[in-house]
């Protein structure tokens, strides 16, 4: 049983703006029957570039229908420029969240919107993500698309990649390739970081710099690993070389979180910020 929010249920049971539209000014179609979900988005756009009416049709599960319905409510009455800013995470947020495995439903919404806007502007949508080499044959996902999702959502595991773009959700034979893409991206990021550090003259960090670097390191090198185990970490405060953090989720009750604190959190922060840092756990 999926744990859907009340808002998802409401939009699924009472979808807004569903149906066909005569002479739409823009149409965006994504997905296919084979993939298990598809969305057709139709827009009426007035002279001031304002989306005056929206209609959609969806083939898909409960959250796919709810995501499409939510998207139409979000963009109705907005200008094209405003609508363009709607991200997949905004759709999920509007619905009070989606189950992790259903994030691709919100991605489908955003993609249909992009396709419709491109259609309106009369440009053939040639997104870099659709080019490249097909990695996941089951769902026809390219390496560029996977790399895009990995960067955009800071994905670190194959499972997360599957949740966001379906790649790897079928026969699983492409899992090594997906892992390679993930590794390459984060390895490159790390290399950049190291090069940056090597180029940096050794000088004392300002407080602002230190805080920023601590935050970045937690987001990039610490949280993904903890999230993968169902835990999380929050930065509470920084006082000189003392960094105060608090564990969340399964970490907060994990007997080995003390080890994690020293072996992972402190080690990473010393590696990427400055080797004099001391990490302490505080209760919040």
């Amino acid at each position: 049983m999926w744990d859907y929010s009340e808002k998802v249920k409401d939009h699924f049971l009472n979808p807004r703006n569903v149906g066909d539209m005569e002479n739409p000014d823009a149409v965006g179609e994504v997905g296919s029957l084979a993939c298990g979900d598809a969305l057709k988005l139709m827009l009426k756009i007035d002279a001031g570039d304002v989306i005056s009416d929206v209609k959609f049709k969806t083939f898909g599960c409960g959250s796919a229908i709810a995501s499409a319905s939510a998207l139409t409510e979000m963009i109705k009455g907005k200008t094209i420029a405003e609508a363009e800013k709607v991200a997949d995470s905004d759709i999920a947020e509007y619905l009070d969240g989606l189950p992790e495995q259903k994030m691709h439903c919100s991605v489908m919404g955003r993609e249909a919107l992009e396709a419709a806007i491109a259609n309106y502007r009369g440009i053939k949508l040639e997104k870099a993500v659709d080019e490249g080499t097909i990695v996941c044959k089951c769902f026809g996902v390219t390496d560029n698309k996977i790399a895009h999702e990995v960067r955009e959502h800071k994905l670190t595991t194959i499972e997360q990649v599957t949740n966001y773009c379906k790649a790897g959700g079928g026969c699983q034979s492409c899992h090594p390739q997906i892992q390679a893409i993930i590794d390459e991206i984060w390895h490159k990021e790390k290399e950049k970081e190291i090069i940056k550090k090597a180029q940096k003259p050794v000088k004392k960090l300002t407080n602002i710099q230190k805080m920023k670097l601590v935050q970045e390191t937690i987001e990039r090198d610490i949280r993904p690993a903890l999230l993968a185990d169902g835990g999380d970490i929050e930065l509470i405060d920084i006082d000189g070389d003392r960094v105060m953090v608090s564990f969340r989720g399964s970490c907060s009750s994990c007997p080995s979180s003390g080890v994690t604190l020293k072996s992972t959190v402190e080690a990473k922060l010393r590696e990427f910020v400055t080797d004099t840092l001391i990490v302490e756990e505080v209760l919040s």
Partner: protein, 397 residues
């Protein structure tokens, strides 16, 4: 709210007679059957009775019945037990449509040095017996083929398969979790060596199962521990559930004829009415022999999870082979193995009845399911005339 339970291949209601039989064994006759005192010893006698009841429903002898904790444990015990008892043989034959309890175990074994041959099925879900015969080798330790499929209800010709396997001189295990209690099985006149059954599929509680081991079959224990079950499975017996399983088997034997007549008639009416009222549907496995209680219908242009959620609003409990219901993106491996097009796999629904299903229940489903499909088709961008029609196989068999 009204609840119509049509998911009996997932699990069943514990029969009231079964529950009644079990209750004294929680706080009245709670002794350990292994104890020397009569207080415990009397419980051992009741377990013997349950063993006889389980043996009776499949035409076995009581000493051929091993009690386990579930169907999955029985499957693991059978396959791993035979492999460990025959270390020189490292080949396994199975099918592509097995329950995960067998399928995933074989995948694991394939990753750990065993050779596994997976037999495919045709469009009707049927196994090719000649192909099976050809696949058995000198070093085949065990053939594990299910009796009836949990998703489609398709019944394999297990006696014919058993004959072939016996001729080839190896062991046949069959996962008969869905078959026991629904169709007659007589192991006294069969060449099946090992057979799995599960309590909660036949109105006994969850957490109990059994493995039939033909007398004279050498098998290594799966759970190593005490002397229970004649040293074949360590662990104190789950007494109340074993008593319940015995009673449930006795009842199932009594109701077997009803499964073949009344339940089958309900199922037949259900599927023919639904397909008539919601066309562009395929009954999966329709041309093969099937369990009397199961129907698996693929509705084109709509997605299974959405159907289930709307049925849920009407109090109807069903299940789906759609990817979205499983937590993975891979839709039913059974329907895929049958070559059901992706387009139809996503919109597949399984309805499975039981002896507690009433005519009213069936009429209620006939009334409410077709409008659910129509409603979703109205919001679907696909239909019979859509440009994607090319790769949809329309119509039902």
């Amino acid at each position: 709210m009204k609840v119509v339970y049509a998911d009996n291949n997932a699990t069943t209601k514990v029969a009231p007679e079964v529950l009644e039989e079990m209750l004294p064994f929680f706080s009245e006759y709670y002794g350990n059957p292994s104890s020397m005192h009569i207080f415990g010893g009397q419980v051992a006698k009741k377990i013997d009775k349950a063993r006889q009841q389980v043996a009776d429903i499949i035409g076995a002898r009581p000493e051929e019945i091993l009690f386990t904790s579930c169907g999955t444990e029985s499957d693991n015990t059978a396959i791993l037990g035979i492999l460990r008892a025959n270390p020189g043989k490292r080949h396994i034959v199975t099918s592509r449509v097995e329950h995960p309890a067998v399928y995933n175990l074989c995948t694991y074994l394939a990753q750990n040095g065993y050779h596994v041959t997976e037999l495919g099925v045709d469009r009707n879900g049927m196994l090719n017996v000649d192909e099976l015969s050809e696949s058995v080798r000198e070093d085949t330790a065990i053939v594990s083929i299910m009796h009836a499929n949990n998703e489609t209800g398709v019944i394999f010709p297990i006696e014919e398969i058993a004959g072939i396997v016996k001729q080839k001189g190896t062991f046949l295990h069959t996962d008969a979790v869905q078959a026991v209690g629904k169709i007659p099985i007589n192991l006294a006149e069969s060449a099946i060596d090992l057979l799995t059954l599960s309590g909660h599929k036949l109105h006994a509680p969850k957490g109990v199962g059994a493995l039939y081991i033909r007398k004279g079959t050498s098998i290594a224990p799966f759970i190593i521990g005490g002397h229970q079950e004649k040293n074949r499975r360590g662990g104190t017996e789950n007494v109340p559930s074993i008593i319940g399983l015995g009673k449930a088997c006795e009842l199932a034997k009594k109701f077997m004829a009803e499964e073949q007549t009344r339940v089958k008639q309900l199922r037949d009416r259900l599927e023919s009415e639904i397909v008539a009222k919601a066309p562009d549907a395929i009954i999966n496995g329709y041309k093969s022999p099937r369990l009397p209680n199961t129907t698996n219908i693929s509705f084109e242009y709509v997605e299974g999870e959405a159907i289930l959620l709307l049925l849920n609003e009407k109090g109807i409990c069903a299940s789906s082979g759609s990817a979205c219901t499983s937590g993975s993106l891979e839709p039913s491996h059974v329907l895929r193995a049958m070559g059901v097009p992706f387009t139809a796999v996503h919109g597949s629904i399984r309805l499975s009845l039981s002896r507690y299903t009433t005519t009213d229940d069936v009429e209620y489903m006939i009334e409410h399911l077709p409008p659910v499909v129509r409603r979703l088709r109205e919001i679907s961008p696909y239909n019979r005339d859509s440009k994607f029609q090319g790769h949809i196989s329309a119509g039902y068999i």
